[in-house]
């Protein structure tokens, strides 16, 4: 489905290729498709509308440079705008250097608060903080037991009051307990609640006013749909929060709700959470998220990465060497490094719109690249330039030096020789042969 979308976007973009300037009429189709991409990623309807208006405003009248197509230009503007909005303010977690740091987690039911609180506890423990987890969810059956079990797994104490049904009291007592026991970081796991439940929202606000948290984090399921704007707004108005945590990102949801939240409450994402293992917690990278929202088969990041990483001159140089059959192992190494700069082979494959989904699922082993790289790096300059001198003892040395088997070395040399043979043939048959070049991967 994603590929289908990308194709549609491309088609819309194609229409404006070859026109010198971006105008209202030549981008309307593109904007429609962009809207669709955003809606499919769960960006709120109104937010998407506003966002597209911004992109349109920034694009209109823009001169299209000869090197890029209007489509690429808009896509780049779109991508930059997304990145900018997602990463506008710092996303660092505030921690008091001395005294108590209190972090309060709030959110809807089932968004992943309890699991995340344990992950955060582990993360902060690794940062040499003395952490206390607080089980303030007295409503969901066994929520306290769940936190206790998780706490035990990571050797972090869990504060709870058996039989108490007063989350405010539990939280206040927990702070006392932390101070008395030399613990400097308190994480309060509150019950999941609906933003329209006034009693529960008031309770959360009361906990907040009593414990005065250093950070209040709103935990959101990355699969949330359109309603994210309503819940985020209500939590923001009634409890207020400093940052957002995006959970379940190990799935394949595109997480557009994070853009909606940013648009209505303007709070940064501070962490992302991706799995049930307690160390699967990561900091937030706006660029990565922007790509994700725009879809996996994302042309933007290919264009971006290509522009940034690929030195066209170097490519031309390589191409020339190819044609003249002067391509040696050093050049081979250079090419591998260039490819590696652009990301994993699998992710590169996934970014190329024309590639079928069956192909995308083939296991591309990046480790093989590493093996090849290490073997070439263990060769001397002379050996790289002139592989013919690689006799048995040299090969043995290279294998040992690179930590690979001699078969690996033999295989590489054999493949390289075959490549040379092939090039010779190709060069004879046609003068047009060129190595697969990023220039040919453009969308238009």
């Amino acid at each position: 489905m994603l590929d289908e979308l990308t194709e549609k976007l491309e088609r819309a973009l194609k229409k404006i290729t070859g026109q010198g300037k971006i105008t209202e009429s030549n981008i309307s189709d593109t904007l429609r498709e962009i809207r669709r991409v955003l809606l499919d990623a769960d960006v709120n309807y109104k937010v998407a509308k506003q966002f597209i208006d911004n992109v349109k405003e920034k694009s209109l009248g823009k001169e299209v440079l000869t090197s890029v197509t209007p489509g690429q230009l808009i896509t780049k503007i779109l991508f930059d705008e997304l990145k900018e909005l997602l990463g506008r303010t710092g996303s660092e977690l505030k921690l008091n250097p001395s005294g108590l740091t209190v972090i309060m987690l709030i959110g809807l039911q089932g968004c992943g608060k309890t699991t995340f609180s344990a992950k955060l506890a582990k993360y902060l423990k690794n940062k040499k903080r003395n952490v206390l987890l607080v089980a303030a969810d007295v409503y969901r059956p066994a929520a306290i037991d769940q936190l206790k079990i998780l706490g035990a797994q990571i050797s972090v104490p869990v504060f709870s009051i058996d039989g108490s049904a007063e989350p405010v009291k539990i939280s206040v007592e927990a702070l006392k307990y932390a101070k008395e026991n030399g613990l400097n970081t308190v994480i309060i796991d509150t019950a999941g609640r609906l933003h329209v439940d006034d009693d529960m929202m008031n309770e959360a606000a009361e906990i907040k006013s009593k414990v005065n948290p250093t950070e209040t984090l709103f935990v959101v399921d990355s699969m949330t749909g359109q309603d994210a704007v309503n819940s985020a707004k209500a939590f923001h108005e009634k409890v207020d929060f400093d940052g957002v945590v995006l959970t379940k990102l190990d799935g394949d949801a595109r997480g557009g709700s994070v853009l909606s939240i940013r648009a209505v409450v303007d709070r940064p994402v501070k962490f992302v959470s991706l799995g049930e293992k307690l160390d699967s917690i990561e900091l937030f990278f706006p660029e990565r998220m922007a790509s994700r929202i725009l879809g996996k088969g994302d042309v933007v990041s290919l264009v971006e990465k290509a522009q940034l990483q690929f030195d066209e001159k170097e490519t031309e140089e390589l191409e020339k060497k190819f044609k003249e059959n002067r391509f040696d192992l050093d050049d081979f190494l250079k090419q591998i490094k260039m490819i590696k700069k652009m990301g994993s082979l699998k992710s590169l494959l996934a970014m190329i719109p024309g590639i079928s989904s069956s192909m995308k699922n083939t296991d591309v082993d990046d480790k093989k690249l590493v093996v090849v790289e290490s073997i070439i790096q263990s060769m001397t300059k002379d050996e790289r330039r002139n592989p013919k001198i690689l006799n048995g003892s040299r090969r043995k040395r290279i294998a040992k030096g690179s930590g690979n088997s001699i078969q690996d070395v033999n295989r590489l040399i054999k493949q390289f020789e075959q490549m040379h043979q092939m090039m010779k043939m190709l060069n004879k048959n046609s003068g047009k042969f060129s190595i697969p070049n990023i220039k040919n991967m453009r969308l238009n």
């Binding site: 769960d42 109104k46 089932g110 409503y139 066994a142 699969m223 949330t224 749909g225 190990d250 595109r254």
Partner: protein, 310 residues
């Protein structure tokens, strides 16, 4: 949390119409040009549907059909437009007009497995279903086959106590062993309903998805006709990813129905309507609160009325 049982339809309606008010007040302007007002009607319905997670595809499909009917019948009124949309939607949900599960109509024991991603509300729903069937005078047993999440067993046990039903606890580490035990006991002791809770899992996790297969095999190995129902539980807050979830879960197990949870907030659950429409699956129940009785049989008419109530 003050949830009034038996008043849930009005509550659902209230929830669904919360953000509606302002929208409809705009209507009432006089239009001189029909094309313009069809466009305007479409735009307003489009906003409702898209903001309710119906997705671009289904929204466009519904609007296309509605515009055609509207033009063909030469109608003028916005209410007519809404009626057409409602009928279109109803036909997408025709499978969901599902009769109540009655003891006299079911094979015994009737085995129901609940599946879904993490946090969708499986265990809570299972507790509610146990209570619901119990109040229908059926003999109910639940199996805590979520042996993965910390304290999931305790959570279900708590519900089992509340619902006053039997439980096979997940003390064994293997979920299929729990499922096996539960069904075996149900056959031996002539239970009517078997409810099996499973661990939440993301559809992208192959290993955990394969585990579901194993549970099904074990169950049908014991009782050929089982499982009689495999319900996918979906959070009403879900966005477009829910479709992929349904597709993936459906690849591993033969789904027979959907349950939408957390519809007591402002989320409209449109993603689940897409699933019902795309995969020809009935929506069987909806969850509308945290209390054991906060479960309802899904009624497409009520749902659609609530969605478009002014």
């Amino acid at each position: 949390m003050a949830i009034l049982p038996n008043l849930s339809f009005s509550k659902l309606k209230e929830g669904l119409s919360k953000t509606r008010g302002a929208l409809f007040s705009k209507i009432g302007n006089v239009f001189s040009n029909k094309t313009i007002f069809i466009e305007d009607f479409s735009a307003q319905i489009e906003e409702i549907l898209l903001e309710s997670d119906f997705g671009v595809e289904l929204t466009e499909k519904l609007l296309f059909a509605a515009r055609k009917t509207f033009k063909d019948k030469n109608l003028n009124d916005f209410d007519d437009f809404i009626t057409i949309i409602k009928n279109e939607l109803l036909s997408e949900l025709k499978l969901s007009s599902y009769p109540k599960l009655l003891k006299k109509n079911i094979a015994v024991p009737y085995v129901i497995i609940l599946l879904g991603i993490n946090g969708s509300g499986k265990t809570t729903t299972l507790g509610k279903l146990a209570h619901y069937y119990k109040t229908q005078n059926m003999k109910v047993i639940v199996g805590a086959a979520d042996t993965f999440r910390a304290a999931a067993n305790d959570q279900l046990k708590n519900w089992a106590v509340q619902a006053n039903v039997e439980i096979v606890e997940g003390t064994m580490k293997d979920p299929s062993a729990v499922a096996f035990e539960t069904v075996k006991l149900a056959v031996e002791q002539k239970f009517d309903i078997v409810l099996i809770d499973t661990a939440g899992r993301l559809h992208t996790n192959k290993n955990l998805m394969n585990e579901l297969n194993k549970i099904q095999k074990v169950v049908s190995g014991l009782l050929t006709s089982a499982p009689h129902e495999v319900f996918l539980v979906i959070d009403g807050n879900s966005g477009q990813n829910a479709k992929i979830q349904a597709l993936e879960f459906g690849n591993y197990l033969n789904l027979t129905g959907l349950i939408v949870t957390k519809l007591d907030g402002t989320a409209k659950g449109g993603a689940v309507i897409q699933i019902a429409s795309n995969f020809k699956l009935p929506i069987k129940y909806i969850g509308i609160g945290e209390k054991i009785e906060d479960l309802e049989i899904f009624d497409p008419n009520n749902y659609i009325d609530a969605l478009f109530s002014k």
